[in-house]
Amino acid sequence: MTGTPLPAARIDVRPHACPVTWVKARIALSRLATGQVLEVLLADGEPRENVPRSAEEDGHRVLRLEAAPEEGPGTWRAWLERGPEPEERAWP
């Protein structure tokens, strides 16, 4: 019992390259409510490093980042928790 909510949505960005990997994840996150979780399937290497980092920079939380060989060779799974509305919405 971890208390972690199960993913409300799941996307597979393995076919894509930077920056579309993060764009797809960001759009999927924007469709969730704060606190909901998105599962993202990622290729190893650049996407595994950059997508979780970009998510954190954007105010979301990385709950899990783990190898997911059962999904395919070299696949990683990230669980991203949707953060609050970005502060940039409040403009001067």
Partner: protein, 233 residues
């Protein structure tokens, strides 16, 4: 309608901007923007609006392309003598195959206007027309190597209220590109909905440095509406 794969790939770099995303891109796609006024800022402004994915561009530039008409950003010697509106529309379509760009036809109702007047009198007349139709507009004035961009959301202080005399220097190509791109930026920010309260402001660029001012209404200006003009019951 959700964004297509082609749109996600093309607009990737603006889709990940703070405050922007799927909703702002859809707003761009459904916008219909009229670009008009005959000034040097029009060609660069058309480029940045088309490239960002403004779905419909109507270019209202009846004059012919001439060497001094700001052709150098978008149009070359091969375009000299062509009607400027049609030439810029073709350029916009070549820049972004996903958008529709055509010459403006009278009676069409834009959702926003980009005013690139060849003089402040020209800009003033077009801006007033947009204000009376309650259409948000952005005005680009080229002045030497720089100029000014005035953003006028609906019900904001009008262009005439915001305008201030500049240097009155002869417009340059680089001034046109500077102010045209800045005007496109202001219009895109306005249309993106990223700001809950649309920003009425004027950015002046002289000697390479942008300076911003909030715009305010001149006492008695017609843009305050009937109440301020003393016509209210």
């Amino acid at each position: 309608m959700a964004l297509t794969e082609a749109e996600v790939a093309r607009y990737a770099r603006q889709l990940i901007l703070p405050g922007m995303g799927e909703a702002s891109q859809e707003a761009f796609r459904s916008a219909r923007v009229r670009v008009t006024g005959g000034g040097l800022a029009a060609a660069p402004a058309v480029y940045y609006l088309a490239a960002a994915g403004i779905g419909t561009l109507w270019i209202d530039e009846p004059d012919e392309v001439s060497p001094g008409s700001g052709a150098g950003f978008a149009l070359g010697p091969a375009d000299l003598g062509r009607p400027r509106g049609a030439a810029l529309a073709a350029f916009a379509r070549a820049a972004n195959a996903l958008v529709t760009a055509d010459v403006f036809r009278p009676g069409s109702r834009p959702t926003a206007v980009l005013v690139c007047g060849s003089s402040s009198d020209v800009s003033r007349a077009i801006a007033d027309e947009a204000r009376l139709l309650r259409t948000p507009h952005v005005v680009a004035d080229v002045d030497g190597q720089g100029g000014a961009v005035t953003t006028v959301p609906v019900d904001a202080p009008c262009y005439a209220c915001a305008a201030r005399p500049g240097l009155g220097a002869a417009p340059t190509q680089e001034g046109g590109a500077t102010v045209g791109a800045l005007a496109a930026m202001e219009l895109l920010l306005l249309l993106s909905g990223a700001s809950s309260e649309p920003v009425a402001r004027r950015i002046e660029v002289f000697r390479g440095t942008p300076l911003v001012r909030a715009t305010s209404r001149q006492p008695g200006c017609a843009c305050a509406g009937p109440a301020a003009a003393g016509l209210a019951p």
